[in-house]
Amino acid sequence: MVNFTLNGLEVSVEKGTTLLEAADFYGIEIPTLCHDKGLSPYGACRLCLVEIGTPGRSRLVSSCTYQAREGLNVRTHSERVIKARKLLIEMYVALCPSSKVIQCLASKYHVTKVRFSPKHEDCILCGLCVRMCDEQMQAKAISFVNRGGRRLVSTPFAKKSEDCRLCGACIYICPACQTRCQGPQEENILCNACLNLEPPCLEKFEDVMCYMDPCVACELNTDKKPNK
Protein backbone atom coordinates (compact mmCIF):
# COMPACT_ATOMS: atom_id res chain seq x y z
CA MET A 1 0.00 0.00 0.00
CA VAL A 2 1.05 3.53 -0.71
CA ASN A 3 0.22 6.30 1.74
CA PHE A 4 -0.09 9.87 0.64
CA THR A 5 -2.04 13.07 1.23
CA LEU A 6 -4.99 13.88 -0.98
CA ASN A 7 -6.42 17.36 -0.43
CA GLY A 8 -5.13 17.24 3.12
CA LEU A 9 -6.59 13.80 3.76
CA GLU A 10 -4.31 10.89 4.69
CA VAL A 11 -5.17 8.15 2.22
CA SER A 12 -3.73 4.85 1.18
CA VAL A 13 -4.12 2.97 -2.07
CA GLU A 14 -2.59 -0.07 -3.70
CA LYS A 15 0.71 0.26 -5.46
CA GLY A 16 0.25 1.16 -9.10
CA THR A 17 -2.96 3.14 -8.55
CA THR A 18 -3.06 6.37 -10.47
CA LEU A 19 -3.95 9.60 -8.74
CA LEU A 20 -7.11 9.79 -10.81
CA GLU A 21 -8.21 6.36 -9.64
CA ALA A 22 -7.34 7.24 -6.07
CA ALA A 23 -9.35 10.46 -6.21
CA ASP A 24 -12.24 8.61 -7.74
CA PHE A 25 -12.11 6.04 -4.96
CA TYR A 26 -12.19 8.75 -2.33
CA GLY A 27 -15.07 10.52 -4.05
CA ILE A 28 -13.22 13.51 -5.39
CA GLU A 29 -14.20 14.37 -8.89
CA ILE A 30 -11.56 15.29 -11.42
CA PRO A 31 -12.70 16.20 -14.92
CA THR A 32 -11.32 14.15 -17.82
CA LEU A 33 -11.73 14.09 -21.56
CA CYS A 34 -9.24 11.50 -22.73
CA HIS A 35 -9.66 8.88 -20.03
CA ASP A 36 -11.65 5.69 -20.10
CA LYS A 37 -11.45 2.90 -17.56
CA GLY A 38 -11.17 0.26 -20.24
CA LEU A 39 -8.32 1.92 -22.09
CA SER A 40 -4.73 2.72 -21.31
CA PRO A 41 -4.12 6.22 -19.96
CA TYR A 42 -2.75 8.68 -22.48
CA GLY A 43 -2.44 12.06 -20.79
CA ALA A 44 -3.61 14.09 -23.77
CA CYS A 45 -6.46 16.31 -22.64
CA ARG A 46 -4.63 17.75 -19.60
CA LEU A 47 -7.90 18.39 -17.80
CA CYS A 48 -7.15 15.94 -15.03
CA LEU A 49 -4.23 18.06 -13.83
CA VAL A 50 -3.47 18.00 -10.14
CA GLU A 51 -0.84 19.81 -8.15
CA ILE A 52 1.78 17.66 -6.45
CA GLY A 53 4.49 18.57 -4.00
CA THR A 54 4.63 21.06 -1.21
CA PRO A 55 3.46 24.60 -1.99
CA GLY A 56 6.33 26.59 -3.42
CA ARG A 57 8.00 23.57 -4.96
CA SER A 58 4.97 22.02 -6.56
CA ARG A 59 4.12 21.19 -10.14
CA LEU A 60 1.13 20.08 -12.16
CA VAL A 61 0.86 16.54 -13.50
CA SER A 62 -1.89 14.66 -15.25
CA SER A 63 -3.51 12.46 -12.62
CA CYS A 64 -4.57 9.81 -15.14
CA THR A 65 -0.96 8.87 -15.83
CA TYR A 66 0.69 9.61 -12.50
CA GLN A 67 0.91 6.76 -10.05
CA ALA A 68 0.56 7.44 -6.37
CA ARG A 69 3.81 7.55 -4.46
CA GLU A 70 4.58 7.30 -0.80
CA GLY A 71 4.37 10.62 1.00
CA LEU A 72 3.13 12.59 -1.98
CA ASN A 73 1.13 15.73 -1.35
CA VAL A 74 -1.66 15.95 -3.91
CA ARG A 75 -4.13 18.78 -4.38
CA THR A 76 -6.85 18.38 -6.92
CA HIS A 77 -8.56 21.76 -6.70
CA SER A 78 -5.87 24.29 -5.87
CA GLU A 79 -5.98 27.72 -7.37
CA ARG A 80 -3.23 26.87 -9.81
CA VAL A 81 -5.08 23.76 -10.97
CA ILE A 82 -8.36 25.61 -11.38
CA LYS A 83 -6.72 28.43 -13.30
CA ALA A 84 -5.12 26.03 -15.79
CA ARG A 85 -8.23 23.89 -16.02
CA LYS A 86 -10.49 26.85 -16.74
CA LEU A 87 -8.28 28.18 -19.47
CA LEU A 88 -8.09 24.73 -21.05
CA ILE A 89 -11.87 24.41 -20.98
CA GLU A 90 -12.14 27.85 -22.52
CA MET A 91 -9.92 26.69 -25.35
CA TYR A 92 -11.92 23.49 -25.69
CA VAL A 93 -15.16 25.41 -26.06
CA ALA A 94 -13.63 27.61 -28.71
CA LEU A 95 -12.29 24.57 -30.53
CA CYS A 96 -15.45 22.52 -30.46
CA PRO A 97 -18.52 24.46 -29.26
CA SER A 98 -20.91 21.85 -30.58
CA SER A 99 -19.88 19.22 -28.06
CA LYS A 100 -22.23 18.63 -25.18
CA VAL A 101 -19.51 17.12 -23.05
CA ILE A 102 -17.43 20.24 -23.36
CA GLN A 103 -20.30 22.65 -22.84
CA CYS A 104 -21.24 20.80 -19.68
CA LEU A 105 -17.68 21.09 -18.42
CA ALA A 106 -17.74 24.81 -19.13
CA SER A 107 -20.86 25.28 -17.04
CA LYS A 108 -19.58 23.09 -14.29
CA TYR A 109 -16.29 24.91 -14.02
CA HIS A 110 -17.81 28.31 -14.39
CA VAL A 111 -16.27 29.20 -17.70
CA THR A 112 -18.45 32.13 -18.64
CA LYS A 113 -16.39 33.82 -21.28
CA VAL A 114 -14.50 32.62 -24.33
CA ARG A 115 -11.79 34.93 -25.50
CA PHE A 116 -10.79 32.89 -28.52
CA SER A 117 -12.35 32.82 -31.93
CA PRO A 118 -14.50 29.71 -32.39
CA LYS A 119 -13.18 27.04 -34.71
CA HIS A 120 -15.99 24.49 -34.89
CA GLU A 121 -13.72 21.48 -35.16
CA ASP A 122 -15.29 18.09 -34.70
CA CYS A 123 -12.31 16.44 -33.02
CA ILE A 124 -10.32 17.40 -29.96
CA LEU A 125 -7.66 14.72 -30.57
CA CYS A 126 -8.26 13.01 -27.28
CA GLY A 127 -7.19 9.76 -28.88
CA LEU A 128 -9.97 7.71 -27.29
CA CYS A 129 -11.08 6.37 -30.66
CA VAL A 130 -7.53 5.40 -31.62
CA ARG A 131 -7.02 3.48 -28.40
CA MET A 132 -10.49 1.97 -28.61
CA CYS A 133 -9.85 0.71 -32.11
CA ASP A 134 -6.44 -0.67 -31.18
CA GLU A 135 -6.89 -1.96 -27.66
CA GLN A 136 -10.49 -3.13 -27.59
CA MET A 137 -11.30 -3.80 -31.22
CA GLN A 138 -7.78 -4.84 -32.18
CA ALA A 139 -8.35 -3.42 -35.61
CA LYS A 140 -5.75 -0.66 -35.69
CA ALA A 141 -7.70 0.93 -38.49
CA ILE A 142 -7.14 4.50 -37.42
CA SER A 143 -4.22 6.39 -35.98
CA PHE A 144 -2.83 9.83 -35.40
CA VAL A 145 -1.50 11.45 -38.51
CA ASN A 146 0.98 14.34 -38.78
CA ARG A 147 2.30 16.14 -35.75
CA GLY A 148 1.99 19.42 -33.89
CA GLY A 149 -0.69 21.81 -35.00
CA ARG A 150 -1.50 19.71 -38.06
CA ARG A 151 -2.27 16.52 -36.19
CA LEU A 152 -5.47 14.62 -36.93
CA VAL A 153 -7.01 11.20 -36.68
CA SER A 154 -7.35 9.31 -39.91
CA THR A 155 -7.15 6.02 -41.71
CA PRO A 156 -3.98 5.46 -43.77
CA PHE A 157 -3.95 7.75 -46.79
CA ALA A 158 -7.43 8.89 -45.73
CA LYS A 159 -8.84 6.00 -47.73
CA LYS A 160 -11.62 3.72 -46.70
CA SER A 161 -9.94 1.26 -44.42
CA GLU A 162 -10.27 -2.43 -44.93
CA ASP A 163 -8.93 -3.05 -41.45
CA CYS A 164 -12.03 -1.39 -40.02
CA ARG A 165 -14.67 -3.72 -38.61
CA LEU A 166 -17.38 -1.09 -38.82
CA CYS A 167 -18.03 -1.72 -35.17
CA GLY A 168 -18.76 1.90 -34.39
CA ALA A 169 -16.84 1.80 -31.13
CA CYS A 170 -14.86 4.86 -32.12
CA ILE A 171 -18.04 6.87 -32.55
CA TYR A 172 -19.46 5.54 -29.32
CA ILE A 173 -16.55 6.77 -27.26
CA CYS A 174 -15.98 10.13 -28.92
CA PRO A 175 -16.60 13.09 -26.59
CA ALA A 176 -16.85 15.55 -29.44
CA CYS A 177 -19.61 13.74 -31.30
CA GLN A 178 -22.38 14.17 -28.76
CA THR A 179 -24.16 17.28 -29.82
CA ARG A 180 -24.96 19.82 -27.17
CA CYS A 181 -28.36 20.05 -25.64
CA GLN A 182 -30.54 22.81 -26.89
CA GLY A 183 -30.58 25.43 -24.18
CA PRO A 184 -33.35 27.99 -23.69
CA GLN A 185 -31.40 30.64 -25.53
CA GLU A 186 -30.44 30.77 -29.11
CA GLU A 187 -27.20 28.90 -29.76
CA ASN A 188 -24.06 30.85 -29.05
CA ILE A 189 -20.55 29.74 -28.37
CA LEU A 190 -21.15 29.11 -24.69
CA CYS A 191 -24.23 27.27 -23.59
CA ASN A 192 -24.00 27.89 -19.82
CA ALA A 193 -27.58 26.76 -19.48
CA CYS A 194 -26.80 24.75 -16.37
CA LEU A 195 -24.12 27.02 -15.01
CA ASN A 196 -22.66 25.83 -11.78
CA LEU A 197 -21.41 27.90 -8.93
CA GLU A 198 -17.73 28.59 -8.86
CA PRO A 199 -16.36 27.84 -5.40
CA PRO A 200 -16.25 31.36 -3.91
CA CYS A 201 -13.61 30.25 -1.46
CA LEU A 202 -10.97 30.54 -4.17
CA GLU A 203 -11.20 34.29 -3.87
CA LYS A 204 -9.75 34.05 -0.38
CA PHE A 205 -7.76 30.86 -0.31
CA GLU A 206 -5.41 29.13 -2.64
CA ASP A 207 -7.39 25.90 -2.39
CA VAL A 208 -11.08 25.11 -2.39
CA MET A 209 -12.75 24.39 0.95
CA CYS A 210 -14.84 21.37 0.17
CA TYR A 211 -15.24 19.05 -2.75
CA MET A 212 -19.02 19.12 -2.85
CA ASP A 213 -20.43 18.86 -6.28
CA PRO A 214 -22.12 21.20 -6.92
CA CYS A 215 -20.43 23.64 -4.62
CA VAL A 216 -22.67 24.78 -1.83
CA ALA A 217 -20.58 27.83 -1.17
CA CYS A 218 -20.05 27.24 2.52
CA GLU A 219 -17.22 28.84 4.35
CA LEU A 220 -16.60 26.30 7.05
CA ASN A 221 -13.20 25.34 8.37
CA THR A 222 -11.67 28.51 7.08
CA ASP A 223 -8.87 28.41 9.62
CA LYS A 224 -7.54 25.13 8.26
CA LYS A 225 -6.79 26.26 4.76
CA PRO A 226 -3.76 28.14 3.48
CA ASN A 227 -4.59 31.81 3.15
CA LYS A 228 -3.56 33.64 0.07
Binding site: M137, Q138, A139, K140, A141, I142, S143, F144, V145, N146, R147, S154, T155, P156, F157, S161, E162, D163
Partner: protein
Protein backbone atom coordinates in the same frame (compact mmCIF):
# COMPACT_ATOMS: atom_id res chain seq x y z
CA UNK B 1 -2.34 -11.01 -30.08
CA UNK B 2 -5.76 -12.43 -30.66
CA UNK B 3 -7.59 -10.79 -33.45
CA UNK B 4 -4.93 -9.76 -35.92
CA UNK B 5 -6.51 -8.85 -39.20
CA UNK B 6 -5.21 -10.61 -42.21
CA UNK B 7 -3.40 -7.92 -44.14
CA UNK B 8 -3.99 -9.82 -47.38
CA UNK B 9 -7.68 -9.25 -47.06
CA UNK B 10 -7.17 -5.53 -46.75
CA UNK B 11 -5.87 -3.08 -49.27
CA UNK B 12 -6.66 -5.52 -52.05
CA UNK B 13 -6.72 -2.61 -54.39
CA UNK B 14 -2.95 -2.27 -54.14
CA UNK B 15 -2.37 -5.66 -55.61
CA UNK B 16 -3.10 -4.31 -59.03
CA UNK B 17 0.20 -2.45 -58.94
CA UNK B 18 3.33 -4.29 -59.97
CA UNK B 19 5.28 -4.79 -56.81
CA UNK B 20 8.18 -6.94 -57.92
CA UNK B 21 10.76 -4.17 -57.89
CA UNK B 22 9.50 -2.82 -54.62
CA UNK B 23 9.57 -6.30 -53.17
CA UNK B 24 13.17 -6.83 -54.17
CA UNK B 25 14.24 -3.63 -52.54
CA UNK B 26 12.20 -4.24 -49.44
CA UNK B 27 13.55 -7.74 -49.08
CA UNK B 28 17.08 -6.41 -49.29
CA UNK B 29 16.35 -3.78 -46.71
CA UNK B 30 14.59 -6.18 -44.40
CA UNK B 31 17.49 -8.62 -44.76
CA UNK B 32 19.88 -5.91 -43.71
CA UNK B 33 18.11 -5.54 -40.38
CA UNK B 34 17.21 -9.15 -39.77
CA UNK B 35 19.87 -9.69 -37.12
CA UNK B 36 18.51 -6.93 -34.95
CA UNK B 37 16.49 -8.00 -31.97
CA UNK B 38 14.22 -5.03 -32.44
CA UNK B 39 12.43 -3.98 -35.60
CA UNK B 40 13.66 -0.61 -36.77
CA UNK B 41 10.66 0.39 -38.82
CA UNK B 42 11.95 3.91 -39.08
CA UNK B 43 15.29 2.82 -40.53
CA UNK B 44 13.49 0.62 -43.03
CA UNK B 45 11.24 3.43 -44.13
CA UNK B 46 14.26 5.74 -44.33
CA UNK B 47 16.00 3.33 -46.66
CA UNK B 48 12.94 3.04 -48.85
CA UNK B 49 12.61 6.79 -48.85
CA UNK B 50 16.28 7.13 -49.88
CA UNK B 51 15.73 4.66 -52.68
CA UNK B 52 12.65 6.25 -54.23
CA UNK B 53 13.09 9.75 -52.83
CA UNK B 54 9.62 9.26 -51.39
CA UNK B 55 7.51 6.54 -49.78
CA UNK B 56 5.24 4.90 -52.30
CA UNK B 57 1.96 3.73 -50.86
CA UNK B 58 2.58 0.26 -52.23
CA UNK B 59 5.89 0.03 -50.43
CA UNK B 60 4.27 0.90 -47.12
CA UNK B 61 1.71 -1.77 -47.74
CA UNK B 62 4.40 -4.34 -48.48
CA UNK B 63 6.31 -3.49 -45.33
CA UNK B 64 3.12 -3.79 -43.34
CA UNK B 65 2.51 -7.22 -44.82
CA UNK B 66 6.04 -8.55 -44.46
CA UNK B 67 6.67 -7.24 -41.00
CA UNK B 68 3.21 -7.84 -39.66
CA UNK B 69 2.72 -4.29 -38.60
CA UNK B 70 -0.43 -2.29 -39.12
CA UNK B 71 -0.70 0.13 -41.99
CA UNK B 72 -1.95 2.78 -39.61
CA UNK B 73 1.26 2.58 -37.58
CA UNK B 74 3.43 3.00 -40.66
CA UNK B 75 1.26 5.83 -41.89
CA UNK B 76 1.62 7.57 -38.53
CA UNK B 77 5.39 7.27 -38.77
CA UNK B 78 5.45 8.43 -42.36
CA UNK B 79 3.48 11.56 -41.55
CA UNK B 80 5.11 12.32 -38.19
CA UNK B 81 8.71 12.47 -39.30
CA UNK B 82 9.81 15.16 -41.63
CA UNK B 83 12.37 13.01 -43.41
CA UNK B 84 9.64 11.10 -45.19
CA UNK B 85 7.68 12.27 -48.14
CA UNK B 86 4.51 10.64 -49.34
CA UNK B 87 4.57 12.35 -52.70
CA UNK B 88 7.26 11.99 -55.37
CA UNK B 89 9.97 14.63 -55.32
CA UNK B 90 10.77 16.92 -58.23
CA UNK B 91 13.94 16.79 -60.27
CA UNK B 92 15.62 19.47 -58.18
CA UNK B 93 15.23 19.75 -54.45
CA UNK B 94 15.50 23.13 -52.83
CA UNK B 95 15.54 23.50 -49.11
CA UNK B 96 15.30 26.97 -47.66
CA UNK B 97 16.70 27.19 -44.16
CA UNK B 98 14.27 28.76 -41.73
CA UNK B 99 16.41 28.24 -38.63
CA UNK B 100 16.69 31.05 -36.12
CA UNK B 101 20.05 32.29 -37.35
CA UNK B 102 18.77 32.44 -40.90
CA UNK B 103 15.44 33.89 -39.78
CA UNK B 104 17.01 36.92 -38.13
CA UNK B 105 18.99 37.46 -41.29
CA UNK B 106 15.87 37.54 -43.42
CA UNK B 107 15.09 33.95 -44.41
CA UNK B 108 11.37 34.58 -44.74
CA UNK B 109 11.93 37.03 -47.56
CA UNK B 110 14.19 34.52 -49.26
CA UNK B 111 11.50 31.86 -48.99
CA UNK B 112 8.92 34.21 -50.34
CA UNK B 113 11.11 35.04 -53.30
CA UNK B 114 11.84 31.40 -54.11
CA UNK B 115 8.17 30.54 -53.76
CA UNK B 116 7.22 33.24 -56.17
CA UNK B 117 9.97 32.69 -58.69
CA UNK B 118 9.49 28.96 -58.93
CA UNK B 119 5.74 29.04 -58.53
CA UNK B 120 5.84 26.34 -55.92
CA UNK B 121 4.72 26.31 -52.31
CA UNK B 122 6.87 24.95 -49.48
CA UNK B 123 6.35 21.23 -49.14
CA UNK B 124 5.16 20.94 -52.71
CA UNK B 125 6.55 20.13 -56.13
CA UNK B 126 6.11 22.48 -59.04
CA UNK B 127 3.59 21.51 -61.64
CA UNK B 128 6.18 20.64 -64.24
CA UNK B 129 7.84 18.32 -61.76
CA UNK B 130 11.11 20.25 -61.86
CA UNK B 131 11.38 21.68 -58.40
CA UNK B 132 10.48 20.53 -54.93
CA UNK B 133 10.59 23.17 -52.28
CA UNK B 134 11.06 22.37 -48.62
CA UNK B 135 11.85 24.39 -45.55
CA UNK B 136 14.34 23.11 -43.00
CA UNK B 137 15.19 24.31 -39.55
CA UNK B 138 18.93 24.80 -39.66
CA UNK B 139 21.33 22.73 -41.67
CA UNK B 140 24.23 23.67 -39.42
CA UNK B 141 25.87 26.26 -41.62
CA UNK B 142 24.45 29.26 -39.81
CA UNK B 143 27.56 31.36 -40.42
CA UNK B 144 26.57 31.42 -44.06
CA UNK B 145 22.94 32.34 -43.44
CA UNK B 146 20.54 33.02 -44.92
CA UNK B 147 21.02 29.99 -47.04
CA UNK B 148 19.39 27.39 -49.22
CA UNK B 149 20.44 23.89 -50.08
CA UNK B 150 20.09 23.35 -53.79
CA UNK B 151 20.31 19.66 -54.70
CA UNK B 152 22.51 19.02 -51.70
CA UNK B 153 24.77 22.00 -52.34
CA UNK B 154 24.80 24.85 -49.85
CA UNK B 155 24.34 28.32 -51.27
CA UNK B 156 24.98 30.81 -48.52
CA UNK B 157 25.00 34.54 -47.70
CA UNK B 158 22.00 35.02 -49.92
CA UNK B 159 20.43 38.28 -50.84
CA UNK B 160 17.22 38.69 -52.79
CA UNK B 161 19.22 39.63 -55.84
CA UNK B 162 21.65 36.76 -55.44
CA UNK B 163 18.85 34.25 -55.28
CA UNK B 164 17.59 35.52 -58.57
CA UNK B 165 20.95 34.71 -60.08
CA UNK B 166 20.97 31.28 -58.58
CA UNK B 167 17.50 30.44 -59.78
CA UNK B 168 17.94 32.41 -62.97
CA UNK B 169 20.69 30.07 -64.05
CA UNK B 170 18.49 27.13 -63.38
CA UNK B 171 15.56 28.63 -65.13
CA UNK B 172 17.62 28.90 -68.28
CA UNK B 173 18.80 25.34 -67.99
CA UNK B 174 15.23 24.46 -67.36
CA UNK B 175 14.07 26.13 -70.55
CA UNK B 176 16.71 24.43 -72.63
CA UNK B 177 15.87 21.00 -71.43
CA UNK B 178 12.15 21.38 -71.73
Amino acid sequence: MGLRTNPKACYRSYMKVDLTKIDQIINQIIDKYKDDEDVPYISILQDINDEYRYLPEEALYRVSQKMEVSMSHLYSLATFYKCFSLVPKGEHEIQVCMGTACHVRGASRILEKVTRDLQVKPGKTSENGKFSLETVNCVGACAQGPLVVFDGKYVGKLTLNKIEKMLGGNHEKDNKTS
